[in-house]
């Protein structure tokens, strides 16, 4: 069982106030514990937590490049096997490093079946470099490389279904989670690090700076993402969905979209009903696929 009182991610780091990934880092370490080696990719978390000589990490930690955390972790796994050591190996990487530039290394690592846990903190864009779109950026989100404008309603692509891709690689355990539900993160990480083989957890970590909301609302917005059906918390074991967070009454996506500057162009100067409907359809499809609707009226 995870020791929730341990603090292996120290204060003094340089994340924005209210940072979702920073919160995730603390919670991940509570789930993983002190007998853990963390492998980081270049990104917000790496940059705000390790400007030489200040490091916020109280466990062994390594950063190599943007795209190779999974390969570095594979090497660590091979070395630990040879040396007879039992530390957990946990990759903590952003969505840019995971969905795009890191695909090659992740695919290889999962194919080889290394005993690692790969955790993607998903703030849905390349945040550290100034908010550019990634393969995880939701449809119609405004970013600096997918800006809304006269000829554009924002990001044109749908969010890549990476959990499904890694489940298809034969990962024994794949899960999604959110900083809105901190105990759920701790439990899922604790579970994953104790499962033999390559496990994947994708955590939605709202970014106040990149999404455009007040840092105090990081947890509140995470809850709304789930309440709208645009983010679904679930677990897959050996490729089969085994647990899903269901919703008593799903909220319309509009309630979530209105809270963030990155979707403001869908409402001002006038409402873009067609695009809002498309996003609603994405949420509806999620609801259908995962069976999240309980449709219970609150009395």
């Amino acid at each position: 069982m995870a020791d929730k009182s341990c603090e292996l991610f120290d204060a003094g780091h340089r994340a924005c106030g209210g940072c979702g990934p920073a919160l995730a880092a603390r919670l991940i370490m509570k789930g993983a514990g002190a007998n853990t080696i963390v492998v980081a990719s270049t990104g917000c978390m790496e940059v705000f937590s390790t400007p030489y000589p200040e490091t916020a990490w109280k466990v062994p930690w390594i950063h190599s490049l943007f795209e190779n955390a999974a390969a570095v972790a594979s090497g660590i796994d091979s070395a630990l096997k040879k040396q007879g050591r039992d530390e957990h190996i946990v990759c903590i990487c952003g969505d840019g490093a995971t969905f795009d530039i890191g695909m090659l290394c992740i695919s290889g690592a999962f194919e080889r079946g290394h005993n690692i846990t790969y955790i993607c903190y998903d703030n849905e864009a390349y945040m550290n470099t100034g908010i550019q779109r990634s393969g995880a950026t939701p449809y119609d989100a405004d970013t600096t490389t997918s800006p809304a404008g006269k000829n554009s309603t924002g990001n044109k692509t749908r969010k890549k279904d990476l959990p499904a891709i890694l489940a298809a690689h034969g990962a024994p355990y794949v899960a999604t989670a959110s900083t809105a539900y901190p105990n759920d993160i701790i439990n899922k990480v604790d579970k994953a690090v104790n499962i033999e083989g390559p496990c994947y957890i994708q955590i939605q970590t709202p970014c106040c700076t990149g999404w455009g909301f007040d840092g105090a609302k990081t947890v509140e917005i995470g809850k709304m993402a789930i309440a709208s059906g645009l983010w679904v918390n679930y677990e897959m074991e050996n490729g089969v969905v085994t647990k899903v967070k269901k919703l008593p009454m799903r909220r319309p996506v509009e309630d979530y979209l209105k809270t963030q500057k990155r979707f403001r162009h869908l409402f001002r100067p006038e409402r873009n009903e067609a695009e809002i409907a498309k996003i609603q359809a994405i949420a509806d499809a999620n609801a259908e696929k995962f069976g999240i609707d309980m449709n219970i009226e609150k009395k």
Partner: protein, 386 residues
């Protein structure tokens, strides 16, 4: 024990004796025979390494990086396109001061695609911070690996090394080679003892980022280690000679330089051809000599200057091209710089790119051109094609 062996297999035998914990490499012509032989050894239990088949060269060196950071001795090998693909990791490993040793079966870089030998691949990464050693024959191919691990893993050095040898010409050629015993190698090398590593019992953060206040000094430290490695290579090379009977205390090696009018400078297997050509040239009254560069990084400027002292003309045989540079080759300018103020004329000759043969008569022809003062050119162009 003296055996006739293919160059690649001699390297595999050397790696077997070095006992890396983790081997990770991606197949690429002409390195493939090394990794195939190592895979065979792993399958038969002849080596006890974790053999990790990866999805690209980029991943191969990244796997080695992780394993090395976790405290294990590692090995990899590549060529050409693979080396350039992993270039980002190459710089990263050197900056992180991880003592990784990698064999480079030198091969031309595309485009145009070529599987044949030249030295463009390793020379293109001369700025990366890796020690670079070049083998003339299969014996050196084997021996230089032991030397590389010894110096790389020295806590006073901690720089990764390339052991380079000409693809096909050496990798696929059978020559007699003396493979040492396990006891001899254990006595020379010993087990790997990491300077710092990932360990939950003693946590550190590795590969942090450096602000402008720190970056310059980190690069200085890399350079300082590179400078120290010259002496470390000489010392280890001498110790190797004392133990195994083949001395490697010279970063350069001279051949018939005592009274040379024209001296060749070259890297790798072409030196064998040049030596034979020199013997013939001398019979024809041309006093030629050779200074072979065995260690290209750190660049042996002092040793070259001493070895080339008194020579009127130097012809640098370049199996590489530095497109856009005045001398055309990459090695020439550094040789010229080493001879600055001596009055020696230094010329570069780009030859043998993409596996084009260099024959003894070509060597003699280049000597002629150099003595006439014609240089910094391509040698052996097929005029009808251009």
């Amino acid at each position: 024990m003296m055996q006739i062996m293919e160059g690649s297999h001699a390297v595999a035998e050397a790696v077997k004796l070095i006992k890396p914990d983790v081997v990770s490499a991606y197949p690429i012509t002409p390195q493939t025979h090394i990794v195939e032989r190592l895979a065979e050894m792993a399958a038969d239990g002849e080596i006890d390494s974790e053999y990790v088949c990866v999805e690209s060269e980029f991943s191969a060196l990244s796997v080695c990086l992780g394993a090395s950071a976790a405290g294990s001795r590692v090995y990899s090998a590549t060529s050409s396109q693979g080396l350039i693909l992993m270039a980002e990791v190459v710089f990263n490993v050197a900056g992180m001061r991880l003592p990784i040793v990698m064999s480079i079966a030198n091969r031309a870089i595309g485009a145009p695609l070529s599987i044949w030998n030249d030295q463009q691949d390793s020379i293109a990464l001369r700025d990366s911070g890796w020690i670079q050693l070049y083998a003339e024959d299969v014996q050196e191919m084997s021996d230089l690996h032991f030397l590389a691990y010894k110096v790389s893993e020295d806590h006073d050095i901690l720089l990764p090394s390339f052991v380079c040898f000409d693809g096909f010409i050496l990798s696929h050629t059978y020559e007699p080679v003396d493979i040492p015993t396990q006891e001899e190698v254990d006595a020379f090398l010993g087990p790997y003892n990491a300077y710092q590593m990932l360990d939950a019992k003693n946590p550190i953060s590795m590969g942090m980022y450096a602000t402008p206040d720190y970056y310059l000094e980190f690069r200085y430290e890399n350079d300082a280690a590179m400078v120290r490695s010259a002496e470390a290579l000489k010392v280890a090379g001498k110790a190797f000679g004392e133990q195994f009977g083949r001395d490697y205390s010279g970063l350069v090696e001279s051949y018939k330089m005592e009274d040379a009018d024209v001296a060749f400078v070259a890297l790798g297997s072409i030196c064998g051809t040049i030596k034979d050509a020199i013997d013939e040239m001398r019979e024809n009254g041309v006093k030629a000599g050779l200074v072979k560069i065995r260690c290209y990084r750190p660049f042996p400027a002092e040793e070259l200057r001493a070895a080339l002292s008194g020579v009127g003309t130097v012809a640098v045989l370049e199996k590489n091209i530095s497109l856009g540079s005045a001398m055309k080759g990459a090695v020439g300018p550094e040789v010229k710089d080493a001879m600055d103020g001596t009055g020696t004329a230094v010329f570069s000759y780009v030859a043998g790119l993409g596996g084009r043969d260099i024959r003894k008569r070509d060597v003699a022809a280049i000597a002629d051109l150099a003595l006439k003062g014609e240089g910094n050119m391509f040698y052996g162009l097929r005029e009808e094609l251009i």
